[in-house]
């Protein structure tokens, strides 16, 4: 048999029974006392219910209405986020990058899936996928097209490849027609994709 067939079959047995294998590993780790199922439950629940893009949206909304906070956010996003108190604590080296009429920012991790969990939650499948990781750095306009986003031809696109433990959040431009909106209402239009750079805040008319 050619060796490729060998690998192919091997891959299969590696993947087909993933649920059973995960359960077996948890059983072994629990029997050994390395993990406590209640701790596992708690972590899963935290990610499913508490940690999500609403944390990031509050930072952006505040930056839109408070120039001092915006300046602080762009200077040191970790410190600025933690100064708000009411969002989850943010680890070191969160960096906010600002979209302007001249420059649009797009965040990717070509090597794995680095992502600012504390402010955006866990990354979506597409962010971790080969199409996004491969194309964001060479064909960002094509990637944006997949999201239905089209930028002016002369807008500079700045791609941030998260190759270290620094983490990036995009500060999108505040759309027209939101002049009198409250911070809470603004936060509602700041989607996760806006803070990755694959979306733009939209005002429903």
């Amino acid at each position: 048999m050619p060796d490729h067939d060998h690998h192919h079959d091997h891959d299969h047995s590696e993947l087909s029974d993933i649920q059973l294998r995960v359960r077996a590993l948890e059983t072994i780790l629990t029997e050994k006392g390395y993990v406590d199922p209640a701790t596992i439950d708690q972590i899963v629940e935290s990610y499913e219910t508490k940690i999500g893009p609403k944390n990031g949206a509050r930072l952006v909304a505040r930056a839109w209405i408070d120039p001092d906070f915006k300046a602080a956010l762009l200077k040191d996003a970790t410190e600025a986020a933690n100064s708000l108190g009411h969002v989850s604590p943010v680890g070191s080296h969160l960096i906010a990058v600002e979209n302007t009429p001249q420059t649009h920012n797009l965040v990717v991790c070509t090597l794995c899936s680095c992502y600012p969990w504390e402010v955006l939650g866990l990354p979506p499948v597409w962010y971790k996928s080969a199409p996004y990781r491969s194309r964001a750095v060479i064909d960002p306009r094509g990637v944006l097209h997949d999201f239905g986003v089209s930028l002016p031809a002369d807008t500079e696109i700045r791609i941030w490849d998260s190759t270290a433990e620094t983490r990036f959040i995009v500060l999108p431009m505040r759309p027209e027609g939101t002049e009198n909106w409250s911070e809470e209402r603004l936060a509602e239009i700041i989607t996760r994709d806006c803070m990755i750079g694959t979306g733009l805040p939209a005002v429903q008319r």
């Binding site: 690998h7 091997h10 891959d11 993933i18 649920q19 294998r21 995960v22 359960r23 590993l25 948890e26 072994i28 029997e31 006392g33 390395y34 993990v35 701790t39 596992i40 708690q42 972590i43 899963v44 935290s46 990610y47 499913e48 508490k50 940690i51 999500g52 989850s88 604590p89 070191s92 080296h93 990717v108 070509t110 090597l111 969990w117 504390e118 939650g121 866990l122 499948v125 080969a130 199409p131 491969s134 750095v137 060479i138 064909d139 960002p140 306009r141 990637v143 997949d146 031809a153 807008t155 500079e156 700045r158 791609i159 490849d161 190759t163 270290a164 433990e165 620094t166 983490r167 994709d193």
Partner: protein, 220 residues
């Protein structure tokens, strides 16, 4: 390893990005269990975050591409618990513990898990002043180590500009091999034009930055 298929920046052929409206945090309960087990065991300090990454990068490339994200996490975690002596292959085969546990320095407890998670801090005191400053022209090195690195292939041997110093951090290339070999290095944001990276036919409106450790950079 450095040049496995995980280093996919600039590759063609994977098709369009497929956004999934209203996607759940986990697509199956086992994904959440894998995520959480990784966090609990990661706290024991046996391996570094880069050691964890390396365990996924060394999967056979065909397996890597055929796997979903959490399948890769599981396969990497399984490798690590075996390689670090926490679980035996015989135990994985039977699905039960067959011998007493190894003593661990510490894992995440329920009380820890009830607090909001916070990322580790990888900044460390520098051994020497930073060699570069914002505005400096640099060239990335050419290197293709068989071990872990965070300098992507597409950004090797390319001319760029330092945009910012990000502090002095644990060096992934050594910490991946040994959690105790932190070997802290200055970290910089280095920007390249799309045309430098991809050639004259590249979209001229593109700029790409990487987060580059000092050993990845030469003066230019």
């Amino acid at each position: 390893m450095s040049n496995t298929v995980h280093d996919m920046g600039g590759m063609h052929g994977f098709g369009p990005v497929e956004p999934e409206p209203n996607e759940p945090v986990f697509h199956a309960p086992w994904e959440g269990r894998v995520h959480a087990m990784q966090r609990v065991l990661g706290a024991a300090g046996l391996w570094s975050i880069d050691g964890g990454r390396a365990s996924l990068e060394t999967l056979n490339p065909a397996t890597y591409l055929a796997s979903t994200y959490y399948q890769r996490w599981y396969l990497g975690l399984e490798r690590r618990v075996v390689n670090y002596g926490l679980v035996g292959a015989d135990e994985l085969a039977t699905g039960h513990s067959l011998r007493p546990a190894k003593q661990l320095a510490g894992t995440l407890t329920l009380a820890d898990a009830q607090k909001p998670p916070i990322r580790g801090n990888f900044e460390r005191p520098p051994a020497a002043p930073a060699k570069f400053k914002a505005g400096d022209r640099v060239r990335t090195v050419e290197m293709n180590p068989p071990t872990h690195t965070r300098l992507p292939r597409y950004a090797r041997d390319k001319a760029g500009v330092v945009e910012a110093i990000r502090g002095c951090h644990v060096y992934p290339d050594t910490a991946a091999l040994d959690v105790h070999d932190e070997n802290p290095q200055w970290l910089y944001t280095v920007v390249f034009t799309g045309q430098e990276l991809w050639g004259p036919a590249s979209d001229p409106t593109i700029k790409v930055s990487i987060e580059a450790f000092e050993p990845y950079l030469l003066p230019a």
